[in-house]
């Protein structure tokens, strides 16, 4: 296509067709837009958490209240491999992701058979059980006190050594993993299977009539989603050098849901925007008033009432309409 630099429509179309490139460009400059790196890293991590969750919620239409389990298991297993086993950072990440995917397989297998709100509650219940297992395994997890000493000072790879204590380095190291994950998700969504899960979201009965084994497809997405959330968890463990027990708590799952809805469920970049808005607002407002919860709550309600598709969803929608109008005019 011929690209006209002065034509915003062309820009928009390009961004829409190259969502990966757009997302990565944005995330590359992101830390310079944020007040401090630790916050940008959190947004990166929770954005990934949201993307993983969105794969299940936004694209397959399964609302899980138990995703903290995978986030937390990822964190803890990564942490434990560093603290107790003394493994290198990359082994820790691998361990965390695999573990959370396995837990995902188990919980998913049990939960898939129930539907709607009941599915949500089964996942919640099973996640709570995971929470208590880790809570009680004090010698491994530190229990309520959380796991401390997940200390990774340098990232060594192929002779390279990066100072991980430097916040900006830390951001870009974690960015690499997030970028890889995003690339993976983007491919899955573009793949034939991506079409299948959307079909399941739209109409399970029909999807089955077309010959798709709905249960297996759901389980596969569930495991993928769990693995991605697990990755987010491992990164958080490395980022904070601690693993708080709260990362397994159902309120953490709730946060993922909120970020997804806020950003726009079923949109590729929505969860990131959701995480960014959620965490940034919370961070800024907390410093201005002790009543940050109330302010955040009001903003939430306004978004729900006036941005029905979530922030990103609404933006995309508006752009499409605008584009259609332009084309109509042309």
């Amino acid at each position: 296509m011929n690209f006209n630099v002065l034509n915003p429509a062309d820009w928009y179309v390009w961004m829409r067709n190259h969502r990966m490139a757009t997302a990565l460009l944005f995330l590359l400059i992101f830390p310079y837009l944020m007040p401090y790196e630790a916050l940008s890293i959190n947004i990166l991590i929770f954005g990934l958490f949201g993307v993983g969750f969105n794969l299940l919620f936004g694209y397959t239409g399964l609302l899980s209240f138990g995703h903290a389990a995978f986030f937390g298991v990822g964190s803890y297993l990564a942490g434990i491999s560093v603290v107790h086993a003394g493994w290198p950072w990359w082994a820790a990440i691998g361990c965390g992701v695999v573990a959370s995917a396995l837990v995902g397989l188990l919980i998913g297998y049990l939960a898939i058979r129930s539907r709607g709100i009941y599915f949500s509650m089964v996942t919640l219940a099973l996640a709570q059980i995971v929470y208590y297992v880790f809570y009680k395994a004090e010698s491994w997890t530190g229990g309520e006190n959380g796991l401390r000493g997940v200390k990774v000072e340098t990232i060594d790879l192929l002779g390279w050594s990066i100072d991980f204590m430097d916040p900006l380095n830390k951001y870009y190291v974690i960015f690499v993993f997030v970028a890889l994950a995003l690339w993976f998700v983007s491919r899955v969504l573009n793949s034939p299977f991506g079409a299948v899960i959307e079909a399941i979201r739209e109409n399970e009965k029909r999807a089955a009539a077309c010959g798709y084994d709905v249960a297996r497809a759901k389980l596969l997405v569930f495991v993928l989603s769990a693995g991605l959330c697990g990755l987010a968890g491992t990164l958080r463990a490395l980022h904070l050098s601690i693993v708080p027990i709260d990362s397994l708590h159902y309120l953490q799952s709730g946060q993922a849901v909120m970020m997804c809805l806020l950003g726009g469920m079923g949109t590729f970049f929505g969860p990131f925007l959701g995480a960014a808005v959620f965490l940034y607002l919370e961070d800024v407002i907390t410093n201005l008033t002790r009543y940050w919860m109330g302010v955040v709550g009001i903003i939430f309600m306004l978004f729900v009432l006036f941005f029905p598709k979530g922030i990103w969803g609404t933006v995309l929608h508006r752009c499409e309409l605008w584009l259609a109008r332009k084309e109509g005019a042309a």
Partner: protein, 294 residues
Amino acid sequence: MLDISPQLFALQLMTGFALGAVYALLAIGLSLIFGMLTVVNFAHGAFFMVGAFLGVYSLGLTGNFWFSLLLVPLMTGAIGLVCEKFLVRPLYGRGIDYPLLLTFGLSYVMVDVVRFTFGIEGIPSSTPESLRGAVFLGFGHFPLYRLFLILATALIVIALWLFIEKTRYGLIIRAGSRDPEICKVLGIDISRVWLLVFGIGTAIAGLSGMLASPTRAVNPEMGIPILAESFVVTVVGGMGSLPGAVLAGLLVGVVFAMTSLIAPEFAELSIFVLMALVLLWRPQGFFGKAGLMS
């Protein structure tokens, strides 16, 4: 390991019922609202909390427990009506996600409003004179107030049952669907029914908060843990089923009490295990309709 005398067991059972009473009340509200409007009300715990604060406050002003018992549900119900009309109503037909997010935000706001007006550390609450002390039940002494709690719940449930069985609004609520057809037939403006149901649900939530206030610390965060627990109850009983809510409420209360006796540190976990087991055995809870919102 530990020997449990029949007296102790009986007492434990009673405490279980007293706990279950509060769960049941909250679950009824949740279940009503969900069954009718398919709204998962995340602000339910906040209404419970507001009820408790208003209860203690009006008790302090009027000094009359029974009057407050009447006043509080009216007030929380009124708040509920306003919320439904201006916040929840615009979201009908947008699926469960948006009301869920909205009520979540609403709960944040309510908590902070209470923090702002009543202070953050919470306010002292005490049992009304007329209901203090313990009564001997043949197997042991049991706090009079908790006995009252069980009876009050029973009365509320009966009253609600009558309302639902004997009035035409009740008929629709029984029909439990948002199918406008039925209402056309009955010549009833459905939106008014939804308003009413949300009002009743929140009123009961406030009432249960008021009833629970003498038994526990009254603080702005008191609604958060109980929300999760009452969701468990609602789901175990089956979303949208009132008998289910009551039955599950008592069951959860008793399970909690018994675990507290045998393995205290797992008391909280036990109710989630219960939910997991029930749902794996029966994916729509005791009396739930299958495939809700699927």
